[in-house]
């Protein structure tokens, strides 16, 4: 999926800066201010969005550490048992989540990217070296994979309005459970 937030935000900022803002009535102070705020907000999103996952993971690790320290320090104090118990449940969930949250989103994106490239190069090599008519099984593998992938991609972008029959596409939530 090439239509990612980083590209989308970048193009929107450029359109706002180069085309929209210069066309906003200079006498309309509210519109001028709001247009600049939109650009500023988008710049902030563009800078921070790639680190959001790491930021949340770091936050969870710090809170788990705080919870652990507080549990030790508060265990003999009066009137805390119920709260300690509730916190203990949340710590267990948080530790499990943190344990599973290892790879960065960028690493995932990069692994996909690299595998796409290698698979693509392999397909080109296969068809360059053999007669296409003898590779029907491989062609079927490629088109079957494309069918599944394209269903996801079309469903992901359904709100753009490209589909002639949008109701025929499954919801994206049902297609990305692997």
């Amino acid at each position: 999926m090439d239509l990612r937030p980083a590209l989308q935000i970048q193009t929107v900022i450029k359109a706002m800066t180069d085309v929209v803002l210069p066309a906003v009535d200079t006498n309309n102070k509210l519109a001028q201010e709001q247009a600049r705020l939109v650009i500023g907000m988008l710049n902030l999103v563009a800078q921070r969005q790639p680190m959001m996952y790491r930021y949340d993971r770091d936050e969870l690790a710090r809170f788990l550490a705080l919870a652990e320290t507080l549990r030790e320090q508060a265990k003999n104090l009066p009137g805390v048992n119920e709260a300690l118990h509730a916190m203990g449940n949340s710590v267990a969930v948080g530790e499990d989540v943190l344990d599973r949250a290892r790879a960065e989103p960028k690493e995932l994106e990069s692994a996909n990217f690299d595998l796409r490239e290698k698979v693509g190069a392999l397909i080109t090599a296969i068809y360059s070296g053999s007669e296409i008519g003898k590779l029907k099984h491989i062609s079927a593998t490629v088109t079957a994979h494309a069918k599944e992938m394209l269903l996801r991609e079309r469903s992901w972008l359904i709100d753009q309005g490209w589909e002639a029959d949008p109701k025929s596409l499954p919801a994206i939530e049902t297609l990305i459970d692997n």
């Binding site: 999926m1 090439d2 239509l3 590209l7 989308q8 970048q10 193009t11 929107v12 450029k14 359109a15 180069d18 085309v19 210069p22 990069s110 996909n112 990217f113 796409r116 490239e117 698979v119 693509g120 397909i123 080109t124 068809y127 360059s128 007669e131 296409i132 029907k136 062609s139 079927a140 490629v142 088109t143 994979h145 494309a146 069918k147 394209l150 269903l151 991609e153 079309r154 972008l157 753009q160 490209w162 589909e163 002639a164």
Partner: protein, 398 residues
């Protein structure tokens, strides 16, 4: 992320692609120029004043008499080129002073379709007085006067779609309505037949190479678009690799070399609503020598047609059923239409279209090289339904 950094390509990699994908000289020049400039600055918004100054410099070099450029204004549309209309007061060919409305078509730093202004200029010139085309006046192919390569043509009257919509029709695509439909359809095919049967030998088409008989024309096209794919694509797409492999294994020989418009479709011509007359065939930038089936396969694409009033009959291009369309074309051109070749060019056109919106569209927007990057980013999403359409077609052919 890439082993090859496509945003800062090395000279070695550029040369590798040039060797791997031989194309016509002018196509090689513009693709190589694109790649050698890629690491440079993005597109800076150009003001009407800057463009007007560039137009004046160009006209000073081209015109001997006095002239005046007035009323410059932006034109809407045009995802691939910057377009400005203006009024030129001048004495054309020594005649009395007159005022002509002109259109400047200028490339951004990189375009969603990287093409040659000189080829576009020459091709339109070759059809002046033959079929309705915009009058072309001057070309600045090396950006000697304007910020980027550009050409100036005359403004044409007419509309690309009816100003008043026709109600009660299902389907997509431009609906000309039942009154205008037969006449426009016939003219559309007459002009296409003229393009395909045109004797080009006396025309100045020096920016074009003439392919040998057989499959050379097809191979040049495959090389052009696979090279552009390699230059621009971000995430690889296995289906595109399969499609190219299938095309290379199934190249149909060209039985008669024709000028191919390259984007001949509803939406790319203007017509007068009062006379129902096609007043201009537009967008010649993808033109080349090749096989007529390429234009035919593109013109009948489902996206450009719709269902008739009966809710059942599909009208290709919004004109007529496909069988009637092909019969009329064969009658007007005196040339046959072969299903197998149409099938090939349906895949080719799909590949080219996906290459443009997915690969080049991404790369231009990523590098802030265009004048409408937000539009290119938006359009990128349509590549996935396009890919799925191509998958369905390929499954039938494999």
């Amino acid at each position: 992320m890439h082993r090859v950094d496509k945003n800062r390509p090395t000279q070695e990699w550029i040369e590798h692609l040039r060797r791997r994908f031989p194309v016509e000289k002018e196509i090689d020049r513009i693709l190589t120029r694109k790649m050698t400039r890629r690491a440079g600055p993005g597109y800076s918004s150009v003001s009407l004043d800057t463009l007007t100054a560039g137009v004046e410099l160009l006209l000073k070099a081209k015109l001997s008499g006095p002239f005046e450029v007035r009323n410059p204004r932006w034109m809407s549309g045009g995802a691939s080129k910057v377009q400005m209309a203006f009024d030129l007061t001048w004495s054309q060919s020594g005649n009395d002073k007159t005022t002509t409305t002109m259109v400047l078509r200028m490339e951004p730093a990189e375009s969603i379709v990287e093409t040659s202004r000189l080829r576009e200029f020459q091709l339109i010139k070759a059809f002046e007085g033959v079929i309705p085309v915009p009058p072309v006046y001057w070309v600045d192919n090396a950006a000697e006067f304007l910020p980027y390569p550009a050409m100036i043509c005359g403004f044409c009257d007419g509309v690309a779609r009816p100003t008043k919509g026709v109600d009660g029709i299902s389907g997509i695509g431009t609906n000309f309505g039942p009154v205008a439909r037969p006449s426009l359809g016939k003219q559309f095919l007459e002009h296409l037949a003229t393009i395909h049967t045109r004797d080009w030998k006396n025309a100045d088409l020096s920016a074009f190479d003439i392919p040998e008989d057989g499959t050379e024309a097809v191979e040049w096209q495959l090389n052009w678009w696979e090279r552009a794919w390699e230059e621009d694509v971000n995430e690889d797409v296995p289906l595109m690799r399969l499609a190219m492999a299938w095309m290379r294994a199934n190249m149909p020989p060209v039985d008669r070399l024709s000028i191919v418009h390259g984007d001949y479709r509803t939406g790319n011509f203007l017509y007068t609503e009062d006379e129902i007359r096609i007043s201009a065939i537009l967008d010649w930038e993808l033109g080349h020598f090749g096989d007529r089936h390429e234009d035919l396969a593109w013109a009948i694409r489902a996206a450009f047609g719709h269902l008739a009033e009966d809710g059942k009959t599909f009208l290709v291009g919004g004109f007529m059923p496909e069988t009637q369309f092909m019969d009329m074309y064969q009658s007007l051109s005196g040339m046959t239409v072969e299903k197998k070749k149409l099938d090939f060019y349906k895949i080719f056109n799909a590949y080219k279209n996906i290459q443009i919106v997915l690969a080049t569209g991404y790369r231009v927007a990523r590098g802030s090289k265009g004048h409408q990057d937000v539009l290119l980013g938006w359009l990128l999403g349509i590549s996935y339904p396009y890919l799925d359409d191509m998958r369905v077609m390929l499954e039938d052919l494999l």
